[in-house]
């Protein structure tokens, strides 16, 4: 027992030397790590944090600046480097400019005045709330190398493509298999018939010749009753189809013309949830819903010059970017110079919803007074890649809605009195449009 203890002690002392060595190496490692740490912290203190810089940039600068493209203000990639190289301006100048650009212009700073005049007197907003550290972070973000276009995006498209076509392929396989089955069946029947006939001739049984019997159709034609019934049936059936055809003349339900510029309601109203009335603003106040003039498009598309949403093989990013280019051409906007350079050319939109001349319809009455959703008549516009006419827009369709819809009289002083009188007259609580005269001919036809 004692011996073993001793031996342990001996062992320990023997090991001591090694322990010292070990400590030494770990000490060196520690020291190196600390040096590395201090070095990296001093690096980041000087250079700023690009990640923080990005969020600050997006929140404060991105309204007027992008990294690689001139917007309201100049592009900002490597701005610090460029200023130092071209103008000999240091970071202090940038601090001062960002915090109070107007003050610098007034104080007569040469480059401040030059840039102010170059951007035709668009004054940069002062950002006194940004600390020097914030600005360091933003500058670190602007100093980052331009990233190569993300690769997974291009990968994502083919996979979506494969998923889309695989459904079509499986359908085609099923159809093909059915066709082959059908052919096999027909061939089988033919072969069975042939063998049976061979058996018959082998056994000496005479097969009756078809040509000697009266054919079925001759028997049918000779039967006057059957002929009459068939004639009546065919007349009724064709009358049904002819009637159906005549009834849909003049109805453009499903009309889906190809427009000069591919405008996707799905992207604008669906994905981005822009209110219908943002663009169709005259629907609030006038008879027509209004096709927005191009300056309304440019409200957003001055900043949005490319499409970054979901794509399909049919509607690719290049396709959408091309359509935005078409808009720029039509509006006379130069994306390079960030200003209007010519008059542009009006876009020839094809009108989809159109009532005959003998019908009067007023959008503001339905949108502002009745408070209807646009989708009530125009259908799920926010899902339409290409706009089409959802409702038949027939008189029966109008009347149906007027019969079943209750008038919204709440908070509408105009209706207060008439509502009181009429609800007394009809003995109802809620009035339909029809009860308020919505079925009178003169309401819509005059």
């Amino acid at each position: 027992m004692k011996k073993s203890y001793q031996s342990l002690e001996v062992n320990l002392t023997n090991n001591m030397i090694q322990v010292i060595y070990r400590k030494l190496t770990s000490n060196i490692l520690h020291f190196g790590f600390v040096i590395l740490l201090t070095f990296t912290t001093s690096l980041s203190a000087q250079e700023g944090d690009p990640a923080k810089g990005k969020s600050l940039f997006n929140a404060n600068c991105a309204a007027c600046h992008t990294l690689d493209k001139k917007m309201t203000g100049p592009s900002l990639r490597n701005v610090e480097q460029r200023l130092a190289d071209d103008e000999g301006l240091d970071r202090e100048w940038i601090y001062a400019w960002i915090k109070n650009s107007a003050g610098m212009i007034k104080s007569g700073d040469a480059y401040a005045n030059k840039i102010y005049n170059e951007y035709s007197g668009a004054a940069m907003t002062a950002f006194p709330q940004l600390s020097n550290e914030d600005i360091d972070n933003i500058l670190a973000y602007t100093a980052e190398e331009k990233k190569a276009p993300p690769v997974p995006d291009t990968d994502a498209v083919p996979t979506g493509d494969a998923a889309g076509t695989s459904g079509g392929v499986s359908n085609e396989i099923i159809l093909g298999a059915l066709a082959i089955l059908f052919i096999l069946l027909a061939a089988g029947l033919f072969l069975v018939n042939k063998t049976l006939r061979r058996f018959a001739s082998a056994q000496g049984i005479e097969v009756e010749d078809d040509s000697k019997r009266t054919p079925l159709w001759k028997a049918f034609v000779k039967n006057q009753f059957l002929m009459l019934v068939t004639a009546i049936f065919f007349l009724l059936a064709s009358a049904y189809f002819v009637f159906g055809y005549f009834m849909q003349i003049g109805i453009d339900q499903g009309y889906q013309p190809i427009q000069e510029i591919h405008f996707s309601h799905k992207i604008h109203a669906g994905d981005n949830k822009i209110d219908c009335k943002y663009c169709h603003s005259s629907a609030r106040v006038s008879k027509t819903s209004g096709i927005p003039s191009l300056n309304v498009c440019m409200n957003c598309h001055k900043s949005i010059y490319e499409y970054n949403g979901e794509t399909t093989p049919e509607y690719s990013k290049e396709f959408y970017d091309g359509e935005i280019k078409k808009l720029y051409d039509a509006a006379g906007w130069s994306d390079e110079d960030q200003k209007y350079v010519n008059e542009g050319t009006p876009v020839k939109w094809t009108r989809i919803h159109n009532l005959p001349d003998f019908v009067y319809y007023n959008h503001s009455q339905h949108v502002s007074v009745a408070g209807l959703e646009c989708q009530t008549c125009h259908g799920p516009v926010e899902e339409m890649e290409i706009m089409y006419q959802h409702a038949p827009l027939t008189m029966g369709w109008c009347i149906e809605c007027h019969r079943t819809t209750n008038v919204n009289v709440k908070d509408n002083a105009y209706y207060t009195k008439i509502h009181e009188e009429l609800s007394k007259k009809y003995g109802v609580d809620k009035l339909t449009v029809a009860q308020m005269g919505g079925l009178e001919c003169g309401k819509c036809h005059y």
Partner: protein
């Protein structure tokens, strides 16, 4: 042979009906019965017409014409004009007691909320989806917006923001201004 022919005709008829039905979503408008009852004699909105040189019904008003009830806005679309509006222009609805924040909100949500956010913090749907970036919050210290500066910005636009003068009339613009100032006050609480 004849039976076969009949079958063929039947199949053909069915095919024609099927094709006719499947082509319902057409790119051409349908036939019209008596088109002169449908087609207007007068000019329709946005119609093609030979009456004017540029071939459109939609014309700009003659130069110098003024719409009924239109009050010209005297302040220019310049940085100086902006500063002038910011310091001197006041909301006429305030003195007239016609501020209707409910209508202001309705209009704001349609025209402004998509970028500026329904709370005015600059977090509208387009910003959240990173389509448009850098929309400032209304309580931004560097901008320190006032009724006049808001009105000037709605009227002429500013930087990347376009003019909203054609979507909102004068009274509606001031209603929106009142609502924006309310949002600003809420943010500063």
């Amino acid at each position: 042979m004849d039976i076969n022919m009949k079958g063929l005709i039947k199949i053909l008829v069915l095919a024609v009906v099927f094709v006719a039905m499947s082509c319902n979503k057409s790119t051409a408008p349908n036939y019209q019965f008596m088109p002169n009852m449908y087609e207007p004699v007068s000019y329709e909105t946005y119609q093609d017409t030979k009456a004017f040189r540029n071939g459109m019904e939609a014309q700009l008003p003659a130069e110098g014409s003024i719409a009924r009830g239109y009050v010209p806005f005297d302040i220019d679309n310049t940085t100086e004009g902006f500063e002038l509006a910011k310091t001197t222009l006041a909301n006429p609805l305030d003195s007239a007691g016609e501020v209707d924040l409910e209508r202001g909100k309705e209009l704001y949500d349609i025209y402004c909320g998509i970028c500026h956010g329904n709370k005015g913090k600059g977090q509208g749907n387009l910003v959240k989806r990173e389509k448009i970036l850098g929309i400032p919050s209304y309580d931004d210290v560097g901008r320190a917006i006032t009724a006049g500066s808001i009105y000037h910005t709605i009227y002429y636009g500013k930087n990347a923001m376009g003019s909203y003068a054609n979507q909102l009339n004068e009274e509606e613009r001031w209603q929106v201004v009142s609502y924006v100032l309310k949002l600003k006050a809420d943010l500063e609480k």
